[in-house]
């Protein structure tokens, strides 16, 4: 058994899952925003990046790792809420291209701002858990405490988001205003507040992903989240942008595919793998693999 766990195949499985879970987190955050306001937030990655950078400047002042995580998530959430109020709110009811363009402008602004303040070199956080692979009977098992921490943290966040949507009053209001804003408004739900909360939540989830990346081997640089965003968008689109479960599954699929392309071909071809998966998925089910294409009863 341990020989199997130390095989290159399992190495790729573990590494793919570790990368995929990050895509899943960002894809989930894209789905939350998509469901609340029907905007694909192109600046999602950049917003998470800048929140994490602010957390990292605090860690330089000597605060602990968990404080950095908390600060990054808080900043991310605040940024999400403000963005919805200031940049997205004026564009409801306008052509669907307008919010896309504005968020792309915001993406460019945040990346240039981060590079202007913190330079474009890579920064990373000292990770709270070791990245050294476990050993069993003298064989390396390609899992480290950090990978387990990363997967557990991401799963924890996803489950809490699911629980929030499923079991709380706020979650019910969020779902209702996404599904039927007019009816919800008549029933006394503050729909516009729900939209802001949706963005806030989503930006918080995104910030967690950026913190994990910054804690990992390679650290974080201002345009780092571009690639993550593309992979996560593909993950969310494969799942159908409507389905949180689909986004999570899509993230893992993309992560594993990229890892196997990297291992058996070249890292430069990996982005093409994502596109091919997206094309195939859209050919089979244009509305996404995980969405019900029936008319929903309200």
């Amino acid at each position: 058994m341990s020989a199997f766990l130390s095989s290159p195949f399992m190495h790729n499985i573990f590494a793919g899952l570790a990368q995929g879970i990050i895509y899943s987190l960002v894809a989930l955050s894209l789905v939350i925003i998509w469901q609340s306001t029907h905007v694909l937030n192109f600046a999602q990655g950049a917003m998470a990046m800048i929140a994490t950078y602010i957390g990292m400047t605090e860690i330089d002042r000597g605060i602990g790792y968990w404080w950095c995580v908390i600060i990054s998530v808080m900043v991310g959430m605040a940024l999400g809420g403000v963005t919805e109020r200031v940049l997205i709110r004026p564009l409801y009811g306008k052509p669907e291209i307008n919010p896309i363009v504005v968020m792309i402008g915001f993406l460019g602004f945040l990346e240039a701002l981060a590079a202007a303040i913190w330079t474009s070199t890579t920064r990373n956080i000292t990770e709270p858990f070791s990245q050294i692979y476990f050993k069993s009977n003298g064989h390396l098992v390609f899992l480290s405490s950090f990978i387990i921490f990363q997967i557990v943290l991401a799963m924890g966040i996803m489950l809490s988001v699911a629980a929030l949507f499923r079991f709380t009053k706020l979650g019910l209001q969020l779902r209702a205003s996404a599904l039927a804003p007019e009816v919800s408004r008549l029933l006394g739900v503050r729909v516009s507040r729900m939209l802001t909360i949706g963005w806030t939540l989503s930006a918080g989830v995104g910030a967690i992903a950026a913190v994990i990346i910054a804690s990992g081997n390679f650290g974080l640089f201002p345009t780092d989240m571009d690639g993550i965003f593309v992979a996560s968008f593909i993950a969310a689109a494969v799942g159908g942008l409507e389905s949180p479960l689909g986004a999570v599954a899509g993230g893992l699929i993309i992560g594993l595919t990229e890892q196997f392309i990297v291992a058996y071909w070249s890292p430069d071809v990996a982005p093409l793998g994502g596109i091919i998966i997206l094309v195939i998925a859209l050919m089979i089910r244009p509305q996404g693999l995980f969405t019900k294409n029936t008319i929903r009863r309200v």
Binding site: W34, V39, L40, F42, L87, R89, P90, L91, Y92, G93, K94, P95, E96, I97, N98, I100, V101, V102, I104, G105, F106, L107, G108, F109, E111, A112, L113, A115, A116, I117, T119, S192, T223, D226, G227, V230, F233, I234, A237, L241, S266, P267, D268, V269, A270, P271, L272, G274, I275, L278, V279, L282, M283, P286
Partner: protein, 357 residues
């Protein structure tokens, strides 16, 4: 200026040809009075204007959005570069036509799965494409030259053109201006094609597709085919622009075509005015002289241009302009002439009813 406007608004091919030829010749004459540095900047701006025009057609006329046009530029540039490596003495026109064709074909490949998609899906898909192009160019080293890219012969100034120049740097100055004039003429030809496309049957069908796809389908327009056509034309323009751009630089490198370039193209299109010829011209001019603008802002604010902030000033200014334009004047600089005229006439302005969500 009324006569000029009436000239560019003409409805027949003949008068469009006259108007665009007139403006092209005017620009060429202007290049004789510009310093060589400004000529080189103008040449780059002309190449980018062609790409912006292609994007503007896609967004303004068919209602689709693409973040992949930097990728199509790369495809056109590499097509020209790879061809030039094996056939050094090909006439320029052939190289450019090759870039158009290869650009168009790459557009077709991306369009077939994409055109069933609407707004956000399409934007994401094309973003994924332009994100994949740079690593791919780096990977297939034997064809693309990898990280270092490919070198091309720089444009050769003909003998007769040298007669206009004198002084110690005559040859260099002549080359800078010849490149600029060539780029302006190529851009003029492409603008003429696009002006005709705007007024053609396809152009009219496209506007209907954008505004009301159900009505378009009832009128017998094949939606998928119309959207694919729009995409292919846009990619072909980007391919030509990319090839022209790298011919001016005499090299093709992967890092010339980052995702950021797609964002720049989008910014130029929105700033100028989506879906208009003059908007693309304005976009090209802004691109050409953006370095001067940024240097001016740096000196006004006292920022050191070689510092971190100075190096990222252009990115910040462009992004803020993109956001502000989209929020407050979504039809770009071109649309500002109407409020300006109204202001001059001092007529009471009716306040539009505020849109309630």
């Amino acid at each position: 200026m009324d006569w000029l406007r009436s000239l560019t608004r003409q409805e027949t091919t003949h008068s469009r040809l006259l108007a665009i030829a007139f403006l092209t010749v005017l620009t060429v004459i202007i290049t004789f009075f510009l310093p060589p540095v400004a000529d080189s900047q103008l040449a780059g701006g002309a190449a980018i204007a062609v790409v912006v025009l292609g994007l503007s057609w896609l967004t303004g006329w068919s209602g689709q959005i693409s973040l992949g046009n930097s990728g199509f530029m790369a495809v056109g540039a590499y097509a020209a570069g790879i061809w030039a490596r094996h056939h050094a003495s090909t006439p320029l026109v052939f190289t450019l036509v090759l870039a158009i064709v290869i650009g168009g074909i790459s557009g077709l490949i991306i369009a077939i799965p994409s055109t069933r998609l609407h707004g956000p899906y399409l934007a994401g898909m094309t973003l994924a494409f332009s994100a994949a192009v740079t690593p791919l160019a780096q990977n297939f080293t034997s064809v693309t030259g990898g990280e270092g890219g490919l070198f091309m012969n720089s444009l050769v100034t003909p003998k007769w053109f040298l007669h206009f120049f004198s002084g110690p740097n005559a040859a260099i100055n002549a080359n800078a201006q010849w490149s600029a004039d060539l780029a302006v003429v190529v851009a003029g030809v492409m603008f003429f094609f696009m002006a005709n496309l705007f007024h053609s049957r396809t152009g009219r069908a496209m506007r209907l597709v954008r505004d009301n796809d159900v009505a378009a389908e009832l009128m017998g327009v094949n939606l998928a085919r119309a959207r694919t056509t729009a995409f292919v034309v846009s990619a072909a323009f980007a391919g030509l622009g990319g090839a022209l751009y790298s011919l001016l630089q005499a090299s093709v490198r992967p890092e010339t075509f980052p995702i950021g370039l797609s964002i720049t193209l989008l910014t130029l299109m929105v700033l100028g005015g989506i879906g208009t010829l003059s908007g693309a011209v304005i976009g090209g001019i802004i691109y050409a002289f953006s370095a001067n603008l940024v240097a001016h802002v740096n000196s006004l604010t006292g920022v050191n241009p070689t510092s971190n902030v100075g190096a990222n000033m252009q990115g910040m200014i462009f992004s803020v302009l993109l956001i502000l334009t989209m929020l407050f004047a979504p039809r770009g600089i071109v649309s500002l002439k109407n409020p300006l005229r109204r202001l001059l006439r001092a007529r009471p302005v009716t306040i539009a009813a505020k849109e309630v969500h």
